[in-house]
Symmetry: C2
Subunit: 232 residues, 2 copies
């Protein structure tokens, strides 16, 4: 059992609470037995840790577990996972422009997974998807999707002949119900407060809107869910 | 300008950060000029406060504003608002069973408003909707809806002859796409982790599910948004 806070492995795990070390190491942590098992199932688990003496888990003291985890709630198991980025795209792609709320990001992942949008393209300025809050709210969807971090303007320019690209825009859009599923589609969603940024909007030729009464906009994860459901 | 923390009005405003005082006084606070103006538009504003010298605002010092507000971010204006509960129901009703996440509650309010579900029935165990996080994420929808706090089991029993009541249940439900809008409908959504509670589920005769791939469930505000969009 590891019970020293100065143990190099523990120091390494603690460092992964910071975005910069996650990026550098291409590793991230998940909390809870369910997520550890999901990570294992999808081949992303490198090592599992528990405060109990369990088979296939490295045992650590409760003090160590508290130190590693970000939450105030007691976590009994954590998993050290590796990030994998594949370059190939699925036919249905969700592209996110500066989506910043961890809860929204997690909810979008769940919906993307549920409705067959197996690739999420993350433009610059999105919340780090390996943030503990995103992982919790993704409910395991994070293991089932392919993520591509890129410059969204260049990405969309590169794909515009191969994919039909849609954005959301009330002013020059058509109602969601009037569009049909096509073989290859990219759907772009924008920032919570500001929508799709100007540079990205300039490249998008097709826009939809969701007809609403008495409301300016929906929460971005709700809007994304409705769009992906409609196209599934 | 009020600059004394012991001023009775300031003490009163601070007390409204706690659920029990909000309930007792039937008052709540909103932050930001936009929400203050929305509250005024809907006749719910009692008094507005600003750190600047503005017409129709009571000026308070920055120290006082910080004390009143829950956030670390600087808020320049707040509004003291009254709660109004009307007993009459709209034709489309959203009923929530132990929905606990403030972000989900706020997002559900936005969607309910957007898709014509003008009454939200809050069963026991839901997050307090006058919580500052709920108000922020509701983006003003809180002023446009009617809320009824009640025992959900009794409420549904009472309405089952007048309204068609739907819940969400994958096991004995029918796909969402197979149901049509009826004149009077109540849609019940359950808790984030546990879904609709057993006591409430027993009363619900009609259940739908949202067809999904490779995913157990959606975020509750996303599921609610998809259902309400489908019926709007």
């Amino acid at each position: 059992m590891i019970d020293s806070l100065s143990n190099p492995k523990i120091k390494y795990l603690c460092s992964l609470n910071m975005t910069k070390y996650r990026k550098k190491e291409k590793k991230f942590l998940v909390e809870g037995k369910h997520l550890v098992e999901e990570a294992k199932k999808y081949g992303l688990l490198e090592e599992a840790f528990s405060i109990s003496n369990l088979e296939n888990y490295t045992q650590v003291s409760e003090a160590i577990m508290k130190k590693i985890c970000n939450t105030n709630t007691v976590v009994s198991e954590i998993g050290l996972c590796k990030m994998i980025e594949k370059k190939e795209l699925s036919n249905l792609v969700l592209a996110l422009d500066k989506v910043q709320d961890p809860g929204n990001m997690g909810a979008l992942m769940r919906s993307a997974c549920a409705f067959g949008f197996k690739t999420i393209v993350l433009g610059e300025g999105c919340v780090d998807i390996y943030n503990d809050k995103v992982i919790r709210s993704s409910q395991g969807a994070i293991f089932k999707l392919n993520f591509i971090n890129t410059n969204l303007v260049n990405f969309l320019k590169d794909k515009e002949n191969e994919y039909v690209i849609y954005g959301t825009n009330v002013i020059n859009g058509i109602p969601l119900s009037s569009i049909k599923k096509e073989e290859k589609m990219i759907f772009v969603l924008g920032n919570e407060g500001n929508g799709i940024s100007k540079e990205v909007a300039q490249i998008i030729k097709n826009n939809i809107y969701i007809p609403m009464q008495d409301t300016e906009s929906l929460n971005v994860s709700v809007a994304g869910g409705i769009i992906m459901y409609h196209l599934s």
